[in-house]
């Protein structure tokens, strides 16, 4: 259908539309008009992606000069592929409606592992191996060597792309990962480099967060993306953690040992090069004297996305003399390494700030702040000069130099914690130096600064106002949308007590309490008897799940559950869990029914959807608080309190509730879907917890279902399931939660729609 969104003609590739989709597009349009950033929460399964794509594509067509590019970031590879498929659908609709072939270029970009078509390289299993192997075939100096010696192996796909591919731009169209591979095979071009090259002139780019947020990758891939782009972060409820992860560094003794080896290799390579090709080193020296001017010019003229690891100031300066020659630099690295080793030889926990660390390093080994800041850039240059084949081998020394640069650049937002052993095993020495980022805004700041509109969206972003605070930006729109429903297809229940009136809770004091564990078991057992097909249960942590499973096993609860359904359990091994997941789906599919025991914050909880019969009920055992005793977390909480005035408890609850909402939200993936959401912890009933759930879940929690016993839960569930099992047709939804164009245009409906968006 064709929609009129605030004066913009939007093609929407379906015959009907959900009211909230319309509302969402309105808000989105406002954000784009204002050239600002937005935070939008819309329930999962209400067609968020297609709304986003429809509107932004329409906007791009209407105002090609204002918005030149859409950068769509999602979290997982399947998500990325889904987005591109939806885009394909939209474009087919455009072609059908307008009758003209449009010249849109949209493509997905992923790592080499998902794009490589080289027969040997692509058969490698792990991403890192593929990257390393690819690098060893395509690095510039390797190719230079081949001019002299034709026997050096090459990747013919890359060679072909390099000689022909750059001149001819990728023909317009929508390219998913497989399409790129097909195209690459047909032409004999490397799909990965083709994609990387093509994102510069594509209208829509779909890739994962890391390509924009992780400075190490963003610098390679996304540096030159146009400023007038709209950036969308989908499934962004965890975006702060992604930011933090990309800026944090852990150094163990093993890292240092490998680093030591790296330094030795560097040293020897420098020696050999000096004997054979001293001119090369001299050339490098000269380049370093000139400094990083080029990069500086590019950044000032707004061509590049700035790199938080490479702060602006150092671009104006030349690399300090003390590390300018290769030998000096290696010596410098060695000193730094020795210092780190000495720091790891501690008997007690040390926590200090970056300035303290810098002062200490100056006192002990006379390393100044300035050369430290150039460390990463200097190493990069050295590795290039020395023509190192496999950069993956030098990950340790790269890590150390990144750490050096970061620690000397940011006096705030980071903390250094040195732990001599793990908390759980105090007898085994395993010293780790955590250099942890506490401020997610550091990594994301360049994105907000560079791009005109950044949209942060997800099914669960509640409470909305906390994201702008922790990411330090000012949005022009913040809205949460509810789900209009013709029938209440979700049923959140809070189970606070067992049948014996024991309060159910996963809180620390009662964690080992047998009564609680038994009651949890009873709950699962009872539910397994009444819920058809699949049940997913989430625990607060892996250790907690292990303990509960063991004690359920001893008490024979699991055996009884097995009478009703098969049991699959998430393990710490991803391959094993994948197998279990597939078997789980198989069991749901063939009617046997199954239970999946899983962990909040685990991979399953964040990447797998349980549509329809794959999840008819989800049970959240306990409140998934993060492990609060960790020093890193404590430091972060302190920082949040001091810098952003966010109270520790508020943040912890927010964090726990967003994960709970994520877990629970996995079960509803659309309006025709239905599912029970059982919160098995009495603490969920409290206003401060409940209030942090997304609005679309919150509004279905009735006061009567705040503190149920297991029996009452079973009764309510039975009732709910029976109701839901009735046939549900399109006509039932029409006019309420599903609109035709005429219905949408009626005055009354527009008024209703304006209430869907809940502005904050």
């Amino acid at each position: 259908m064709r929609l009129n969104i605030d004066g913009l003609l939007v093609y929407f590739p379906y015959d009907y539309i959900y009211p909230e989709q319309y509302s969402y597009m309105l808000e989105l349009k406002r954000t784009l008009d204002a050239k600002g950033h937005g935070v939008l929460e819309m329930p999962s399964g209400t067609g968020k992606t297609i709304s986003l794509l429809s509107l932004i594509v329409a906007y791009q067509r209407a105002f090609p000069l204002d918005v030149t590019k859409l950068i769509y970031c999602s979290r997982t590879v399947p998500e990325i592929e889904k987005v591109v498929e939806e885009l394909k659908k939209l474009m087919e609709f455009y072609a059908k409606e307008t009758g003209e072939v449009n010249n849109f270029l949209a493509l997905a970009l992923s790592s080499r592992k998902n794009l490589c078509i080289h027969p040997e390289v692509s058969s490698l299993r792990f991403g890192k191996e593929v990257d390393g192997k690819c690098h060893s075939l395509t690095a510039s100096y390797i190719r230079a060597q081949r001019h002299a010696n034709p026997n050096v192996p090459a990747c013919r796909f890359y060679e072909e792309f390099d000689s022909v591919g750059r001149q001819v731009p990728l023909p317009a169209g929508i390219y998913n990962l497989d399409d790129l591979k097909d195209f690459g095979r047909r032409k004999g071009w490397c799909p990965y480099y083709l994609a990387r090259y093509s994102i510069l002139h594509a209208n829509i780019v779909v890739y994962s967060y890391h390509y924009l947020l992780d400075p190490k990758i963003a610098d390679l891939v996304s540096k030159e993306l146009a400023k007038k782009s709209v950036v969308v972060f989908d499934e962004a409820h965890n975006i702060d953690n992604v930011c933090i992860d990309s800026m944090s560094v852990n150094i163990t003794r093993r890292t240092l040992d490998r680093c030591q080896n790296n330094v030795e290799t560097l040293q020897s390579t420098i020696h050999t090069i000096k004997e054979t090709d001293a001119a090369k080193l001299r050339l490098e020296y000269r380049r370093l004297v000139e400094g990083l001017k080029e990069a500086n010019v590019a950044r000032e003229t707004d061509v590049y996305l700035s790199n938080p690891v490479l702060p602006d100031e150092i671009l104006q300066e030349a690399v300090p003399g003390s590390i300018r020659t290769a030998e000096h630099f290696v010596g410098f690295l060695r000193r730094f390494l020795e210092y780190l080793k000495s720091r790891l030889r501690v008997q007690h926990v040390v926590q200090e700030s970056a300035p303290q660390f810098l002062k200490d390093i100056f006192d002990k080994v006379c390393i100044d702040r300035k050369p430290l800041r150039f460390c990463a850039e200097r190493l990069h240059s050295l590795l290039r000069t020395l023509e190192i084949a496999d950069v993956a081998d030098f990950s340790a020394v790269t890590l150390i130099s990144n750490f050096a640069t970061l620690v000397s650049t940011y006096s705030q937002g980071f903390t250094i914690i040195i732990e001599p052993f793990e908390d759980r095993t105090p007898t085994i020495a395993n010293p780790v130096l955590h250099f942890s980022c506490m401020d997610p805004s550091i990594a994301i700041k360049p994105v907000f600064q560079r791009f005109q509109s950044v949209i942060i969206t997800s099914g669960t972003l509640s409470p909305l106002d906390i994201y702008p605070r922790i990411l330090d930006f000012r949005p022009v729109t913040m809205a949460s949308f509810t789900m209009t429903l013709a029938r209440t297809c979700l049923c959140p229940l809070i189970v606070g007590r067992g049948n014996d009136q024991v309060a159910l809770s996963s809180k620390f004091e009662t964690r080992e309490d047998f009564a609680v564990i038994r009651n949890y078991g009873n709950l699962l057992l009872e539910m397994s008897a009444i819920v058809p097909d699949g049940i997913v249960a989430f625990f607060t942590s892996y250790v907690y799940m292990e303990n509960i499973v063991a004690s359920w096993y001893e008490q024979g609860i699991l055996e009884n559950i097995q009478r009703n359904k098969l049991i699959f359990i998430e393990t710490q091994d991803a391959a094993e869990t994948s197998m279990a997941l597939e078997k789980y789906q198989e069991a749901c599919e063939n009617g046997r029914g199954a239970i999946l025991l899983s962990v909040a914050r685990g991979k399953v909880s964040e990447g797998i959807d349980f549509v329809h019969h794959f999840g008819r009920a989800v049970i959240m055992f306990g409140v998934p608080y993060v492990y609060t005793q960790s020093r890193i977390l404590k430091a972060r909480l302190e920082y949040l309190r001091d810098q952003f005035q966010i109270r520790e408890n508020d943040f912890l609850t927010f964090d726990a509730m967003r994960h709970a909402a994520q877990c629970v939200g996995r079960v509803i993936r659309g309006k025709t879907d239905y599912g029970l959401m059982i919160f098995a912890d009495k603490r969920y009933a409290r206003a401060d917890k409940r209030g942090k759930l997304p609005r679309w879940i919150q509004e279905h929690i009735s006061d009567g279902s705040l503190n149920l016993t297991v029996d009452e839960t079973v009764q309510l569930s039975k009732h709910f399931l029976r109701q839901m099992a009735q046939p549900f047709r399109q006509e039932d939804q029409l006019g309420l939660s599903l609109l035709t164009l005429q219905q949408l245009e009626s005055e009354e409906m527009l008024k209703k729609i304006s209430q869907i968006a809940h502005q904050t």
Binding site: V77, I244, N250, R563, A575, M579, A587, G607
Partner: protein, 550 residues
């Protein structure tokens, strides 16, 4: 004495049955008991007839052994020899335990098959009741050609019954009971053993390797329950445990399952992340690789339990869907050898595409493409069920024909001139009208409707049963023709007498009954006709045979 020709495996003296002392004989094919001082058996059961044996609990004063037959009857033997009663009983039990399964397979299969057929098919069951229970024909005759069809023709509709899966909780059903003196008893049934074998092929292999050469069946299962294999949470086991190998094999199976990877790319957690953080970056510290040593016993036992549940569920699921007993290892090996990801690359896209399409579909946003149909609104559903009366003449008229004929009739009517000299007399006319009015002679309702409405339902039901039974008998009868073997000759004569008996014992009473209820006797007319047809055929055959003989 019958036992002379048989091999006697065990003789137990002083066994009481029905308060009578006697001797129990276990022979190659049957178990028998004779009272003391007499040389014949008052009790004799073929092993094939025995469903199971039960023994009295150990603590009881009377030491007894009960045999339950397939017919539901049971015979109890009381071992009365004071000093050796227990030993005697154990000996008898052991022997029976070994003998019964051998016969069971044969007998059981057939019996179960019959049982199942009767249960699944109510018509057959009724027939069985009508013919066999009322002793019109014997059970053997009844089953003769049914089971024959069963055994020869795989295509028989009954043979492709649905495979029954395995209960996920079959291990839980083996409830250990304490026997009072520091021991545990597990009750195993054939079903459970079957489940164990199907789920854990490794155990089956062990079983066939060791039983009965190295171990008796009992020992085997005792060891099974003692092994850590059964108690997966126990980690440390002695080396002599024969099941430790099974565990290893399972581990291997699990590993190969894991290595096969998953077909559905949407659940493949390994390829979920696009770009993992390099080692050393990130907040969450990776699980230390050296943790194996530091793991406590409890932790590793916990993870063993989790592994076990995953494996168990996967195996149960696989056993349910497995056709025949394909060893899983082989299948996994072949697929892992071609684990070349190039291959999988080529095969992957279709499935992946389908899954992706499925994932992005919003069925309710799309208009259904099906043509709109008018909902059926029935006022009288019985009229719908009976359907319209079929057109007598199969010629359909085109609309042009209709128009033509209408205009023709109109034309005729316009030109109609009554021929008043040749009309009926008023008396005849009124009688004709009376005959054609409802209730008149010519307005008798047609037969099929009459049966529905006039005959009470129980009579209808009875009539149906009669038809079925008669049909069955007649089928047997007609299947004898052409009579070309002496066996068939015999059978046809027998069947004829069966038919006559049927007519006498079943049909006649029914006819009398409906007569009593003043229903028209021609209800059974057709049945009679059928029987008559059979009789006349029989007579023709018989006279022809006589002629040939003379």
């Amino acid at each position: 004495m019958a036992s002379l020709s048989e091999e006697v495996l065990l003789v137990v003296k002083k066994v009481r049955q029905k308060k009578q002392d006697g001797t129990l004989y276990l022979m190659a094919e049957r178990i028998a008991w004779g009272p003391e001082g007499k040389d014949r058996f008052t009790v004799s059961h073929l092993y094939a007839d025995i469903r199971c044996q039960k023994i009295s609990p150990d603590g009881k004063a009377k030491i007894q052994l009960q045999l339950v037959l397939h017919t539901g009857e049971s015979t109890t033997f009381h071992f009365a020899n004071e000093s050796t009663a227990l030993k005697d009983r154990e000996a008898a039990k052991e022997l029976l335990q070994q003998l019964l399964p051998k016969f069971k397979k044969k007998a059981n299969k057939e019996l179960e098959e019959k049982n199942r057929m009767l249960q699944e098919d109510p018509v057959l069951f009724q027939l069985y009741k009508d013919l066999v229970v009322s002793q019109v024909i014997s059970a053997e005759e009844f089953w003769a050609n049914r089971l024959g069809g069963m055994n020869n023709g795989e295509a028989a509709p009954y043979s492709n019954k649905q495979d029954v899966g395995i209960s996920g909780a079959f291990l839980a059903d083996i409830r250990p009971q304490t026997d009072g003196c520091n021991g545990l008893r597990y009750n195993l049934t054939a079903d459970i053993i079957e489940s164990i074998f199907r789920t854990y092929p490794a155990v089956k292999q062990k079983y066939s390797e060791n039983v009965p050469h190295n171990l008796t069946e009992k020992e085997f299962w005792t060891r099974f329950f003692q092994s850590h294999y059964f108690h997966r949470d126990r980690i440390n086991t002695g080396m002599q445990d024969i099941f430790s190998e099974c565990a290893k094999q399972d581990e291997k199976g699990l590993k190969s399952l894991v290595n096969q990877g998953v077909k559905n790319p949407l659940v493949d957690l390994l390829s979920l992340e696009d770009k993992t953080l390099d080692e050393g970056y990130g907040i969450r510290t990776a699980v230390p690789s050296t943790s194996n040593a530091s793991k406590t016993v409890k932790e590793s036992s916990n993870s063993a339990i989790i592994k076990r549940f995953n494996h168990h569920s996967a195996m149960v699921l696989a056993a349910g869907s497995r056709k025949g007993d394909v060893p899983t290892d082989q299948a996994s090996e072949t697929s892992s050898t071609d684990g070349n990801s190039r291959d999988s690359d080529f095969f992957q896209p279709p499935l992946k595409k389908v899954k992706l399409q499925e994932a992005i579909e919003y069925e309710d946003l799309q208009r259904e493409n099906k043509p709109k149909v008018v909902a059926l609104n029935l006022k009288k559903s019985d009229r719908y069920a009976h359907g319209p009366v079929p057109l007598q003449s199969q010629q359909y008229t085109t609309s042009q024909d209709i128009i033509n004929s209408v205009s023709y009739i109109q034309h005729e009517m316009a030109n109609y001139k009554p021929n008043l000299t040749q009309v009926l007399s008023s008396a005849v006319a009124s009688s004709a009208i009376a005959a054609l009015s409802p209730g008149g002679v010519l307005m008798q309702p047609v037969a099929p409707q009459a049966i529905n409405q006039m005959v009470p339902t129980e009579i209808q039901g009875e009539l149906k049963h009669l038809y079925v039974a008669a049909g069955e008998l007649l089928r047997h009868f007609w299947s004898c023709f052409p009579v070309n073997t002496p066996f068939l000759e015999e059978k046809v004569i027998k069947m004829k007498s069966n038919l006559e008996r049927f007519q006498m014992t079943k049909l006649r009473p029914f006819q009398e009954k409906i007569q009593r209820q003043y229903l028209s006797t021609n209800l059974t007319g057709h049945l009679e006709d059928m029987l008559q047809a059979a009789y006349s055929k029989f007579h023709i055959w018989q006279t022809r045979r006589m002629m040939r003989k003379t």
